[in-house]
């Protein structure tokens, strides 16, 4: 008998527009000083008539106490890393230490305008400088820009830097292609296309790794770069990385490292030593900054010496003579700016604090534990005899692994989607599903290092239960989830008849 276990609050929470308007208490915005009111004309004299707003915006007129409840209710209907296990492959949902949040709220950080002169923000520039030094060392790179706001943004930055390099060497027009393995994250080809490149996809071998022959066939003098993740999205380390680097470099191309999987290798090996020319980090993955329900993150880009001139400006520097820090804008070959200002500083501070908290040994330990947890969980789930491990099943994975649910689907008709929804019922967040594309009915699982064996065992138990249910009580999966804030959502309706705002909703109501 399946007793319904509530794992999340269920509120029919009204939209903020549907909350009852109140007159008391009101939010008091600061009063305009009387001396100013006296000496300045009325608002409608200060703004050109045509530009004066006629109708006020229809914002809610509610009190703080109503909103406090409203947002508490919403939070109680939201799953986070602090709730329970969150094994999203490729996302590295590790615990976000609270001290990093608190430190980032220091007013000397939060109330500082980016355009303040260097002598008033020595501490902030020093943080940028020291963060960069640490990232350079971790990755084996010469310099790192902290400007990009996200991993994909870092990818674009890295590819634009590579592009600038080729143009500076009179090969810009000639090199029009970027090579990407078929296992790559969607941002890779999207980035290449945004930078104006044609994407050349190479198929992975049966062991899941880059096919050297396919790569040799794909490189030419049109090759600008190869974009690679190592370990790849299957969690497998590209053992032939040196040969891969040689093939690409011999053709005059450069090697780009997608740092999404950096959590697997810290202290063990470095992209710079593997032959990569440019890499991006995901601070919101490897460096424990909060994901924020989708962002902000930060995607610093590290490069080898020959690419340094093209990095976005400014770069933080330390002047030994005066003992001061400054932002160096004197970078004539720089691609310029990729974002307003200097980077997602508040995110960078958290990553900085994280690295200082872990230290050299701690970061190495992070990767070790992440890899141990992943391999442990992989073996446990394979014992269920429901999912298979495609591509080199005998090779250990690194920090994540991808299971195939194709056989289970053929046997029981239950898809990976249904499995994911049932996991929600059992109190877990589902892993990444249907990615990478080279695995059918894929489940991509990354436990991270901040999980106990107990949690991993519980998750494996849940998967075992689900495997049983697939065979004996499939309706439990097809109807999942039932224990979450809402049951399965009609995504077809959402795409067919998009209602993307309160305004569109009201328009629909009047149409009816």
């Amino acid at each position: 008998m399946n007793k319904k276990e509530i794992i999340q609050a269920h509120y029919q929470e009204p939209l903020v527009f549907e909350l009852e308007p109140t007159n008391y208490p009101k939010y008091y915005a600061p009063e305009i000083p009387p001396e100013i009111m006296k000496n300045v004309p009325a608002t409608d004299k200060l703004i050109p008539k045509e530009m004066l707003r006629k109708e006020p915006p229809k914002l809610p007129s509610v009190a703080e106490f109503q909103l406090a409840r409203h947002y508490l209710h919403l939070a109680q209907m939201n799953y986070s890393v602090d709730t329970n296990f969150y094994p999203l492959g490729s996302c590295t949902m590790k615990y976000n230490p609270k001290i990093n949040d608190f430190l980032s709220m220091d007013r000397r950080l939060s109330d500082v305008h980016p355009f303040q002169p260097a002598r008033t923000v020595q501490g902030n520039i020093r943080i940028l400088y020291e963060t960069e030094q640490m990232l350079n060392e971790l990755a084996g790179m010469k310099r790192t820009t902290l400007q990009p706001s996200a991993g994909a943004h870092g990818e674009l930055t890295g590819i634009l830097v590579i592009r600038a390099y080729h143009y500076d060497h009179d090969e810009g027009e000639q090199r029009t292609e970027v090579i990407i393995p078929d296992s790559a994250h969607g941002t890779n080809p999207a980035t290449a296309a945004m930078a104006g490149y044609r994407t050349v996809i190479i198929k992975s071998r049966e062991n899941g790794l880059v096919d050297l022959e396919a790569l040799k066939a794909a490189v030419s003098k049109k090759t600008a770069a190869l974009m690679l993740t190592n370990p790849n999205t299957l969690g497998l380390f590209e053992q032939e990385i040196c040969e891969i680097a040689d093939i690409v470099h011999d053709a005059g191309g450069l090697l780009y490292y997608d740092g999404a999987n950096f959590n697997a290798i810290m202290g063990r090996c470095r992209p710079g030593d593997m032959g990569f020319d440019a890499i991006h980090f995901n601070l919101h993955k490897t460096f424990a900054t909060p994901h924020g329900g989708g962002g902000p993150g930060a995607g610093p880009v590290g490069v080898v010496e020959k690419l340094v001139p093209y990095l976005p400006k400014p770069l933080p520097e330390f002047d030994k003579k005066t003992g001061t820090y400054y932002l160096n804008f004197d970078m004539p070959k720089s691609i310029g700016k990729i974002k307003g200002f200097w980077g997602n500083f508040n995110v960078i501070v958290r990553a900085y604090a994280y690295m200082l908290s872990q230290g050299a040994e701690g970061l190495k330990r992070v990767s070790e534990q992440a890899v141990l947890n992943a391999n442990y969980l992989k073996k446990k789930i394979l014992e269920c005899n429901a999912w298979t491990l495609p591509y080199a099943p005998e090779t250990p994975r690194k920090h994540e692994f991808v299971l195939e649910g194709q056989k289970l689907k053929e046997e029981t008709g239950i898809s990976t989607l249904d499995v994911a929804k049932r996991l929600l019922d059992l109190g877990f967040h589902a892993p990444t599903i249907y990615f990478p594309l080279i695995v059918h009915e894929a489940l991509m699982i990354e436990p991270t290092e901040t999980e106990t064996k107990q949690t991993l065992d519980k998750f494996a138990e849940a998967m075992k239960q689900i495997a049983k249910e697939c065979r004996e009580q499939p309706e439990l999966l097809v109807n999942a989830p039932q224990n979450t804030a809402v049951p399965r959502i009609d995504e077809v309706l959402a795409a067919k008849e998009p209602i993307l705002s309160w305004q569109m909703y009201q328009e629909r109501q009047t149409e009816k």
Binding site: Y434, E491, V492, A494, A495, K496
Partner: protein
């Protein structure tokens, strides 16, 4: 898998059927079963001229976008505007109400180069494993 006996098929899962001197085009039942619920289509404008194999329309479901490739070369003389509000017709009646466009063929021999219903059925069987 449903088939229209009067249509011929492309390996990219479009069907084509003669209607007078025009060719009516849509996607096969097999194609719609892979796409699942279609939510939106982007149809070409009347008058557009395609070569066989050109992308002629975009078909969007929740999790994927597929292209309809022109099975024959020619000029688009009519499009099924009803699909704007009822894209589900593609799933429910792929060979009837789910038609996409009517082409005035420039090279009618291309029609015969397409697969017969039996050939298409055999071909689809090789894809499913």
């Amino acid at each position: 898998m449903k088939l229209d006996k009067d249509a011929r098929y492309a390996k990219t899962h479009e069907w084509a059927r003669k209607e007078g001197d025009l060719i009516v085009v849509g996607v096969s039942d097999f194609a719609q079963s892979l796409l699942k619920d279609v939510v939106y289509v982007e149809l070409p404008t009347e008058g557009t001229v395609f070569q066989k194999g050109d992308k002629a329309a975009d078909i969007e479901s929740v999790k994927a976008v597929e292209e309809l490739k022109a099975p024959v070369s020619g000029e688009v003389v009519a499009v099924n505007n009803a699909l704007e509000d009822s894209a589900e017709a593609i799933n429910e009646d792929p060979y009837g109400e789910g038609w996409f466009m009517k082409i005035k063929p420039s090279k009618i021999e291309e029609f015969d180069e397409l697969l017969s219903p039996e050939e298409y059925e055999k071909y689809v069987a090789t894809l499913e494993h």
